[in-house]
Subunit: 348 residues, 2 copies
DNA sequence: CTGTTAGCGCCTTCAC
DNA sequence: GTGAAGGCGCTAACAG
């Protein structure tokens, strides 16, 4: 790109207005349309014309204005991801994989933090509408079902709600099979002789019971060893896990609890630490199980038994539903459930 | 986009086309301009007109088309963040904080994964240009300086390069003060009687020496206890840390090394695990120090000594440079250095 | 193969 | 206070 075309400007402040399609057209001595065709792939353009235009594009450093194109084409090739917590060990792999899949097709990803305060979560969605995104992934979808459904009715694109097992009209749900996962966890603990099992749950969202907790509760009840206690209301982070475990320990005497299932690995790490500081030996006194398959669980002391989640897999399904599969909406009546695994390590 | 437009469509496929400013104008019986004024804040509009328009907006669920506005106003109110690794413990806090600061001013954040393959990293940047972002944060900026500089010349917005201590024309650099940090780390280890210090470094990028490594090398040399070894070329993740530590152990006999500085906490966790599996006691046999202040370091066994980084602070500086401070460019000649801290925990 | 015409939805400018 | 024209950069549709 040429730096100056007008000698009267100061060096460091010289900023060229972005070259437009017209600049290229003039330089190449063709019409805008021809330039447009070249940019679109160069089909149906005479070879020497194509070359002249290509040269002009390079000389001017021309890059098409994506916005102007979106305005007329009615598709932005942008997908919106509403993330509740980028810090979650699932968020980054999910976004990275979705990006890796989408980019070759010319799609970009916009990530926006979910904000429950903002119109009950709908604010985030309307932001995406303003930006004309072609599809939306809720990762996870924590707002109330009717908020999502109402939005879906007015939105002219696909929506995938990750982490939900319920069915919302106009939206595809995608989730770990929480019922099967709970069964794996409970079976494992019981097979290890654990009978006095507690659950550390996170603070969830108004009007929404986390399917994981519902599944654990039902499975434990059915197993004949109903949960000793659900410790709820803590943040799903290390401190939350420590606090929840500490509360649990303070409310029970030694031996009352012989296993703990945490909402996720991060809470489990906090729980492990609380056990350590309170002189409880894991897994001797109490077994600990988490969810997610955070890499750290492989090297914690003891290594953490966990239900791993394959965020990349989620991304693949979302990708398919959002842009790849034109028949997706028709087939999207049933929530997609991902089969769980259990990775047994030293903590249980 | 609706596939069909005939009335013969199935229920669930009926999607309202987004209401435009014209729809609102017609419904309210005013001109587009008046609607535009109302949306802009409602100044200079008669009270009853304003009310009629507001009602129409609500009834139609009208949301301005951000793209069309951007096209004419020449600012998108979108900031681009080029992230190398969303999984990094710094990335999420950075993005979340930047988002929290920007949203009240009407700014959105687009996150895009950096891809070195793509025009030497410039591809990511040009993506941002296509999307007409108003400013760009490179987090961190790993491409070669001249790639950045060349791009900056053609880009008509601010750029902040995080994690760089060098000065690039047209770009503001922002980084941890690596020299001071290295001094803290080395002083600490030496004060603990450590003399045989090794460094585990990550795989860095072509043509770029990581300032952290340069600073550690210089500081160790100056201290009279030059680094025993730099173990380089591993990924900055847990496995990389394990592998690097394992390589180190295999190349030295017991006692040859009494301290290890890892490129970041994540590698340090891997190193801790490698020590455990090889029967090395931390900190008795070998001290371990990381960088970043990952939350997990507080509950690892042993807890990890680290140089914490305040990603939120970085976000604040970036925010100021990108949109808040109109004088920023003038004052941006010197890289901004963030003073380091050292959190001493059980691993050293 | 290439050019012309007519917008996409919005805002700026300038009338009234 | 409000409206009418014009254009942001691009592409669809139709000419030639």
């Amino acid at each position: 790109m040429p730096k100056d075309m007008d000698p009267s400007l100061r060096d460091s402040k010289v900023r060229h207005k972005r070259a437009t399609i017209i600049d290229v057209a003039e330089r190449a001595g063709v019409s805008r349309q021809t330039v447009s065709r070249v940019v679109a792939g160069g089909e149906l353009v005479a070879k020497d014309t194509l070359e002249r235009v290509t040269t002009a594009i390079e000389e001017l450093g021309y890059r098409p204005n994506h916005l102007a194109r979106t305005l007329v084409q009615r598709r932005s090739c942008i997908l919106g991801v509403s993330a509740l917590d980028l810090d979650s060990p699932l968020a980054s792999p999910f976004i990275e994989r979705l990006q890796a899949l989408s980019r070759p097709l010319g799609y970009h990803i916009i990530v926006s933090n979910f904000d429950l305060e903002d119109e009950g979560g709908a604010g985030t969605l309307h932001t995406f509408v303003s930006l004309s995104v072609d599809g939306i992934a809720l990762f996870p979808a924590v707002m109330e079902a009717d908020v999502i459904e109402r939005f879906a009715r007015s939105y002219d694109g696909r929506i995938v709600a990750v982490g939900r097992v319920d069915q919302i009209e106009g939206v595809h749900s995608l989730s770990l099979d929480e019922v099967a996962a709970a069964q794996l966890v409970v079976d494992h603990l019981i097979s290890r002789g654990r009978r006095r099992i507690a659950v550390l749950t996170n603070a969830w969202y108004p009007g929404v019971v986390h399917p994981r907790m519902a599944a654990l509760q039902a499975t434990l009840d059915r197993s004949g060893s109903p949960a000793v206690q659900f410790v709820a209301g803590y943040e799903p982070d290390i401190e939350g896990g420590m606090a929840a475990m500490t509360e649990l320990i303070s409310q029970h005497s030694s031996g009352d609890i012989d296993a703990v299932v945490a909402y996720n690995d991060t809470m489990a790490f906090g729980a492990l630490h609380a056990c350590r500081t309170h002189g409880l030996s894991v897994p001797h006194d109490v077994a600990v199980v988490g969810y997610d398959g955070t890499p750290f669980g492989a090297v914690s002391d003891p290594p953490l038994t966990t239900v791993p989640q394959d965020a990349g897999r989620y991304a693949e399904v979302v990708f398919k539903l959002l842009i790849d599969d034109q028949e997706a909406n028709a087939a999207a009546e049933e929530p997609t459930l991902i089969a769980p695994r259990l990775v047994v390590r030293g903590s249980s």
